[in-house]
Symmetry: C2
């Protein structure tokens, strides 16, 4: 059941959890609830997206970063496998849907204003489509890039 | 000196490094150069931003994630302190400019398609404006949030 509710701080659509669909204009109470409360109130940006970082739960290595819309977040939570929204293809995708290199999500950390997530994951293979273990396989060195060994 | 060059894959402005200012429509050569080459060709999105993750270089903990425009990237590289672009305030800001809790950048990792960075940082204090060590101080547990101990 979806409930639409209008309040002084915006219009909300409430299903499993609530999302404000009006333009963001936080007041103090709202910000405090998001930052200090125990309610999950994911804040999607004007394009309907939040940032999701996949971090190897064993090594701590950052593997990749991508964006989630509501559908990707729901699919990730339901299946335990990382799903994202592709901005270039304009669709939901499961990481590893063709390669088999899925990311098993062990836990999800939420940041202060709830517009970014860290997925602690156990990767089933290389996380990068290039075959590298992580997408972050190069380091800025002067004005160029060098490969990170490891 | 800024050189503007038009090629089959877009219009480029080349100063210290090159940026394509035409709409993104990668061809294979371009993607291969970005992914496998040693040139730093940061790819800003349609809003002129890329994603920057600050990770504690000692603990591996993800501290915060924010966005950089060209000015923030340049300022970070020049000063060695993390700068970002505030989408809400529409301006450049240095992390810690009021609190003093700057992030000293020790190295910068670049992802496969060069639209995201990991800043390996040494934080001068709590990274989160709430006073927490990291912005990711809560974990999704069922439909609610619990505080992460550590």
């Amino acid at each position: 059941m979806v409930i639409v509710q209008q309040t002084s701080i915006g219009t909300w659509v409430c299903g499993q959890f609530c999302t404000r669909i009006a333009p963001i204009s936080d007041n103090c109470d709202d910000a405090a609830e998001r930052e200090q409360g125990n309610r999950f109130l994911p804040r999607f940006d004007s394009a309907g997206l939040l940032t999701a970082i996949a971090q190897d739960s064993a090594s701590g290595e950052v593997l990749m970063v991508a964006f989630m819309d509501r559908a990707a977040l729901d699919a990730t939570r339901t299946t335990g496998r990382a799903h994202f929204h592709s901005r270039s293809r304009g669709r939901l995708w499961m990481k590893g849907e063709t390669s088999g290199h899925v990311l098993h999500v062990e836990s999800i950390l939420v940041d202060c204003d709830q517009d970014a997530l860290v997925l602690k994951v156990r990767p089933a293979g290389p996380a990068c489509h290039t075959g590298e273990r992580t997408c972050f396989y190069r380091e800025l060195a002067g004005d160029g890039l060098t490969r990170v060994e490891g």
